[in-house]
């Protein structure tokens, strides 16, 4: 019996291969086969959904895998199979004129199997395996259109998925290492018993990154608003309704199975959820692309779900309302968002446009589509009697309950009051942007194309039935909350460790309807005073258009993620890697070239080579010797000259002085006069001047010598260094083959040329050479300075 779980996972994989083979020969048969196989999957899911089954293999994938069914997992697999069934039925018409349909069906059905694997998994190893498979197969669905935007969005999606998946993997390494298991229940036991939890928080945050990225949690939400609009509508429905829920599933496991009743973890999730909830709704108000708005709406709704998950952690054992709200919002969001995306698909199928200015007024006479879309609007807007109201009420009640709980214990409730208001405002914004879409597409007239040809048949019967089924479900959920919704919430309770609520919720009591009324009032305010007043402008023809007032520069992806990931990190990493790569090779080449040269010389010494090597060396040595001899000689010469001069002068000066003084004194004694006195003093100053002039002359000579010596030394050293460095940097083979030990300028500079592929072969070399030259120069300068 438990093998049926394996069947659920494996069957789509085989069905996909069969569909690919069939599709090679017959396209219609392939479509039927796809529908049939997904239908079989749906039936099996419904059959097993409430049975507590368990499957464990010890050998598969090395560590073994575990599947479990029943409770929350049952609900999730039924949702997944249902959404898949509807989407596959709808695809039939949507893809009529598409290329590569075979590829689409192949990967779509495999993704179903992988998604089932995630939902059924009972340990993180299994979750991770199917989560990664799912990421990669759904990537193909995102890129399916192959437009420029689709490829860009696809690469963003892949990058987020790969980085998220790898960080999750790393978290699991640590978790596995510290606990020795990855089974959810065992992990929960071990962690709840441990007294020191800080490490586990870090590991689980790592694990959360991948799941959060898939769910679209801030700040890893960037892929959602990009990928949904460009993917084919049935694929966007799958992405938005089911694939994001795999992220939610992972978060649920972390929050309710591993950190049971953990308020720290709960608050962490709650804060992220609140930000995501508000951010998604806020961006959606500005968006003028039909599917982009829906994508932002998905972000916001995932935020609502995370708020519920966070509240479960905070409320501890009294979390019945939060857990019920969480699972019911998962259910509601899946059904409602599928309805809306399929409506968008119907629009795109006919017009090939998603800009609401272009599709404006197209749906005025499409009664069915209008009704279905209205159902979606009322459902997601949280209007009483429609599905979304039930789950939002429960979520709201859980916040209120916690505020009451805090107030009873006399603690500050301000944070949670804020969160409650953000919750209500986000609900209001949801209604506002949905109204904007509805009014634009189904109510207003298109002022540009007033006389559009009125196609009678814009949708096939199958697609219409699909839409009707979805729309009816939304009402059913809202009208019979006690029959359907409470049972669903009850079924999921065991997984989330929550107990019977203290009292049953009266969904239509004033206390609960009040929240919805506040949201509607906020919505009316936002729609009238923001959307109609600020976001609709007259264009140059005087006709009103919706404008996208969201500033272009305000994009976390363009401003932070892309530059960091594509430019900054590769630049630093690349520089380090290049230096590592080249440094040793150059040294190795240089040393081996030297060794090669020596060996060659030792092997066959020849007179020519000796002369060739020795002569310049001798010349240079002689040059230095000569120069230094010269310098020494000059030095001695100068010193002696100065000394001789000095003593000579001194002696002379004394002699003359004595003589003159003597004679002057004699004369003065014989015939004293003023003239003699003047002569004496004149001679005295004259002598001093002569001595000084001689000294200055010598000083200049000295300076000249120093300059000459230094410059010659620097020049020759520089020459040698350059030659040696170039010799080492070069392919020594080139030089060896060349036969001449010469610096081949042309060969060297040709390495810098850019070849036809825009690749700079020599760029790296030039960088490294410049660096090495610079380094050697610095070292040489330092050595010289010190000496």
């Amino acid at each position: 019996m438990s093998a049926i779980l394996v069947f659920i996972v494996i069957f789509p994989m085989f069905a996909a291969v069969i569909s690919y083979i069939i599709g090679k020969y017959n396209k219609n048969l392939r479509n039927y086969w796809a529908c049939v196989s997904v239908f079989v999957e749906f039936l099996v899911s419904v059959f097993v959904c409430n049975k507590a089954l368990f499957y464990k293999s010890h050998t598969l994938f090395g560590l073994g895998i575990e599947f479990k069914c029943g409770g929350l997992r049952g609900i999730l697999i039924v949702i997944a199979a249902f959404v898949w069934l509807m989407s596959t039925l709808f695809s039939n018409e949507y893809f009529k004129h598409y290329r590569n349909r075979n590829r689409y069906y192949f990967f779509m059905i495999i993704t179903l199997g992988a998604t089932m694997g995630v939902f059924l998994s009972a340990d993180f190893y299994t979750t991770l395996i199917f989560f990664e498979i799912m990421s990669f197969t759904s990537w193909v669905l995102v890129m399916h259109d192959e437009t420029e935007n689709a490829i860009k969005a696809g690469m963003t999606y892949l990058t987020v998925a790969v980085i998220g998946g790898l960080i999750t993997l790393m978290g699991m390494f640590f978790l596995y290492n510290s606990t020795g298991t990855l089974n959810f229940e065992e992990l929960g036991e071990i962690i709840s018993q441990s007294s020191y939890k800080a490490d586990y928080y870090i590991y689980c945050v790592m694990v959360f990154v991948g799941f959060g990225a898939k769910a679209g949690v801030f700040p890893a939400h960037i892929w959602l608003p990009e990928a949904h609009p460009v993917a084919p509508a049935p694929a966007s429905a799958l992405l938005s309704c089911v694939l994001t829920k795999t992220g939610v599933f992972g978060t649920l496991v972390l929050s309710t199975q591993i950190f049971v009743y953990d308020s720290t973890w709960g608050f962490f999730i709650l804060v992220l959820g609140t930000i995501t909830m508000f951010l998604g709704a806020f961006i959606a108000v500005f968006s003028i692309n039909l599917k982009r708005t829906l994508a932002c709406s998905s972000l916001s709704q995932i935020g609502f779900i995370l708020v519920g998950i966070g509240m479960q952690g905070l409320l501890g054992e009294h979390n019945a309302l939060a857990s019920g709200g969480t699972i019911l919002h998962v259910l509601n969001h899946s059904v409602i968002k599928m309805t809306l995306f399929l409506c968008a698909g119907a629009v795109y199928m006919n017009l090939h446009e998603l800009d609401i200015n272009k599709i404006r007024g197209w749906g005025r006479d499409k009664k069915l589509l209008k009704l279905v879309f209205l159902q979606g609007l009322l459902g997601i807007g949280g209007i009483p009697l429609w599905g979304g109201y039930i789950s939002k009420t429960l979520l709201h009640e859980s916040i209120v309950e916690y505020i009451v709980h805090l107030a009873q214990h006399g603690e500050s409730t301000i944070v949670f009051n804020i969160i409650e208001w953000v919750f209500l405002i986000s609900g209001g914004l949801t209604l506002a942007y949905m109204t904007k879409l509805f009014v634009a597409v189904f109510v207003e007239k298109n002022e540009y194309e007033s006389d559009k040809e009125n196609e009678k048949k814009y949708i096939t019967k199958t697609s219409a039935i699909v839409l009707i089924v979805c729309a009816v479900l939304i009402s059913a959920f809202g009208l019979m909350p006690y029959k359907i919704m409470d049972n669903v919430a009850y079924a999921a309770r065991a997984f989330m460790n929550s107990h019977q609520p203290d009292h049953s919720v009266h969904y239509f009591a004033w206390v609960n309807v009040k929240g919805a009324v506040i949201s509607v009032l906020i919505a009316a305010f936002v729609y009238i005073f923001v959307i109609r007043a600020l976001l609709i402008k007259k264009d140059k023809n005087g006709k009103s258009v919706y404008i996208n007032a969201w500033p272009k520069w305000l994009s976390i992806e363009e401003k932070i993620y892309r530059p960091v990931l594509l430019n900054i990190l590769p630049f630093f990493g690349g520089s380090i890697a290049n230096l590592m790569n080249i440094s040793f090779e150059r040294v190795f080449r240089g040393v081996s070239a030297l060794a090669y040269g020596i060996c060659r010389y030792v092997a066959e010494p020849s007179f020519d080579k000796t002369v060739a090597v020795i002569t310049p060396m001798t010349i240079n040595v002689c040059g230095y010797a000569e120069m230094s001899f010269e310098v020494v000689c000059k030095l001695f010469e100068n010193i002696s000259a100065i000394a001789v001069n000095f003593f000579d002068e001194l002696f002379e000066w004394f002699r003359k002085k004595a003589e003159s003084i003597l004679s002057v004194i004699m004369e003065f004694c014989v015939e004293p006069s003023f003239e003699d006195l003047y002569k004496i003093s004149y001679r005295f100053f004259e002598r001093i001047a002569v001595i000084f002039s001689g000294l200055i002359e010598n000083l200049l000579l000295w300076m000249l010598i120093i300059i000459v010596v230094v410059s010659r030394f620097i020049k020759s050293t520089y020459n040698y260094i350059v030659q040696i460095v170039l010799y080492f940097l070069f392919n020594y083979e080139e030089i060896a083959y060349d036969g001449k030990r010469q610096f081949r300028k042309d060969a060297y500079f040709s390495r810098f040329s850019i070849d036809k592929h825009g690749e700079n072969e020599g760029g790296r070399d030039s960088l490294s050479m410049a660096l090495i030259l610079f380094g050697i120069g610095v070292v040489a300068a330092l050595i010289y300075l010190i000496i």
Binding site: H58, T59, E132, V140, E146, V162, L166, F173, G573, E759
Partner: protein
């Protein structure tokens, strides 16, 4: 017969290979090569599943002898080497049609296989070293096969690096003769009582040997021959060079680390830190350079540098789990990298494109080849359900078992490297299958190569997935090896 059966896989291909250039009829030669390699693989697999043998062929002196045996490591390496060698031979049947001197190519190709078997089955250092040097000499003609100036220069570079590296290994051998009781491979090490008093000196010797043998495995600092030699060699040659020959460096490192020096002598010492840092930085460097490289085969060569260092990382961490992961990575990388190089070869053979920028829309022309390329890429990045995921899981969890901070840094580098690997391989896949809206479908022609190229690729791709989903028998086998060592 008995133990003499061990000589068969070593000398059979060598003897047969020598006669290859004399077979002038091409069809006949193809058949002979395939039959011989198939028989070889069959015999090796029989040996692997049979009982243990050992044989001493020639005793030169007390310490030196030529002898073979088949223990766990031998079985592992001989099996995957002979199997992949056979598949690459099937591939080269078609690929070598646009090369000259095919007879010479197959001569060296087959002799190389015998030599590799010699390395695998060798039971002491002397034998391994002998065949290790022969491996360099016998594979060099494969590198410079095209005889263009670049190929010759690359071949000489390959030769220079390899001889230098092997020389470092040989130096270590001299010391081992003094400080070891024997130079037979004994699980747990052979160091004698003198070794402890010269421990640090011996660790320096060990470091030299690691750097020397690391040359073949593409470990920094002697990695530079890989990106030069791979692009110029014919595709089957670069496939086996990257997938197999690098693994022989790994084999030599395993033998030296676990069978000569022993774990107890090395674990927790400075030399372990040094070689760990070397291997971890090589992982990063290889991935980063591959990410920046535009030429397909060169990119794959850099990728090999990085991926083989995963193996070395697992070996140097020296925990049973990580060692098991290293052996898994040996298999995973050998299969995946062969598939990648064969795909690159098929692309070059059919379209002549060598740069990744030229590969837009190639997935529409060669869907099967690119599908195999995709599966191999997934394995290199480590995405389940492929073999690469299992090996990385074991490597990382094993590294965490070690009480050391460097392995933890190593895991972070492993993750970064996986990200870069995704960056340099998936962009090719995306370009190949999603050429964009303006792609001209009318010019599309089916360039899928014939069965000689397709079949080996598909077999390798299937092997990647099968090993990824059902690795338990292989893991059990590796666990039995690790229990001997630790």
């Amino acid at each position: 017969m008995g133990d003499y059966v061990l000589l068969f896989p070593v000398f059979f291909p060598i003897l047969c290979g020598i006669f290859m250039p004399f077979v002038k009829n091409e069809k006949l030669r193809e058949k002979i090569v395939l039959v011989i390699l198939f028989v070889e693989a069959l015999v090796v697999f029989c040996l692997a599943f049979g009982s243990g043998h050992s044989i001493e062929v020639w005793r030169i002196s007390r310490m030196l002898s030529i002898s073979f045996s088949n223990d766990g490591i031998s079985r592992l390496f001989s099996c995957f080497i002979s199997a992949i060698w056979f598949l690459a031979a099937v591939f080269s049947m078609e690929y070598m049609k646009h090369e000259n001197n095919v007879g010479r190519f197959f001569m060296f190709y087959m002799v190389s296989l015998g030599v590799l078997m010699g390395i695998s089955f060798s039971s002491n250092f002397m034998t391994m070293y002998l065949f290790y040097e022969f491996m360099t000499l016998m594979t060099m003609p494969l590198v410079l096969h095209t005889e263009t100036p670049e190929a010759i220069a690359a071949g000489l570079k390959y030769l220079g690096y390899s001889i230098f590296g092997a020389g470092l290994g040989l130096i270590g051998f001299f010391f081992l003769c003094i400080y070891g009781t024997t130079t037979e491979f004994v699980a747990g090490g052979v160091l004698n009582s003198m070794a402890q008093s010269h421990a640090d000196f011996l660790r320096v010797v060990y470091l030299g040997m690691m750097i020397g043998f690391g040359c073949k495995a593409g470990m920094y600092p002697l990695h530079a021959w890989l990106p030069t030699a791979h692009p110029v060699a014919p595709a089957p040659a670069s496939a086996v060079l990257s997938g197999i020959i690098t693994k022989c460096g790994v084999l030599a490192i395993i033998r030296t680390t676990y069978y000569l020096f022993g774990v107890d002598f090395l674990i927790g010492t400075w030399v372990q830190d040094v070689i760990l840092v070397l291997s971890v930085s090589t992982i990063f460097m290889g991935s980063m350079l591959a990410y920046k490289e535009k030429m397909l085969k060169k990119r794959l060569a850099y990728s090999s540098i990085s991926q083989v260092s995963y193996v070395l990382f697992g070996i140097f961490v020296m925990t049973p789990q990580a060692f098991c992961g290293a052996l898994l990575q040996v298999i995973a990388h050998a299969i995946a990298k062969n598939a990648l190089f064969m795909s690159a070869g098929a692309i070059i053979y059919k379209t002549g494109h060598t740069y990744v920028t030229e590969l837009k829309g190639i997935g529409k022309q060669m869907p099967i080849v690119m599908a195999c390329f995709t599966v191999a890429s997934l394995s290199l990045v480590g995405i389940p359900p492929t073999a690469g995921f299992i090996s990385k899981w074991f490597l990382a969890t094993g590294a965490l078992e070690a009480n050391n901070v460097i392995p933890v840094i190593g895991i972070v580098v492993l993750i970064i490297s996986a990200l870069l690997t995704a960056g340099y391989l998936f962009t090719i896949v995306a370009d190949a299958y999603f050429p964009g809206k303006d792609f001209d479908y009318s010019k599309l022609e089916n360039k899928e190569p014939n069965m000689f190229m397709i079949v080996p690729l598909v077999v390798l791709a299937a092997a990647i997935v099968v090993v990824g989903i059902l690795p338990s028998h292989i893991i059990d086998f590796f666990t039995s090896i690790t229990t001997d060592i630790f």
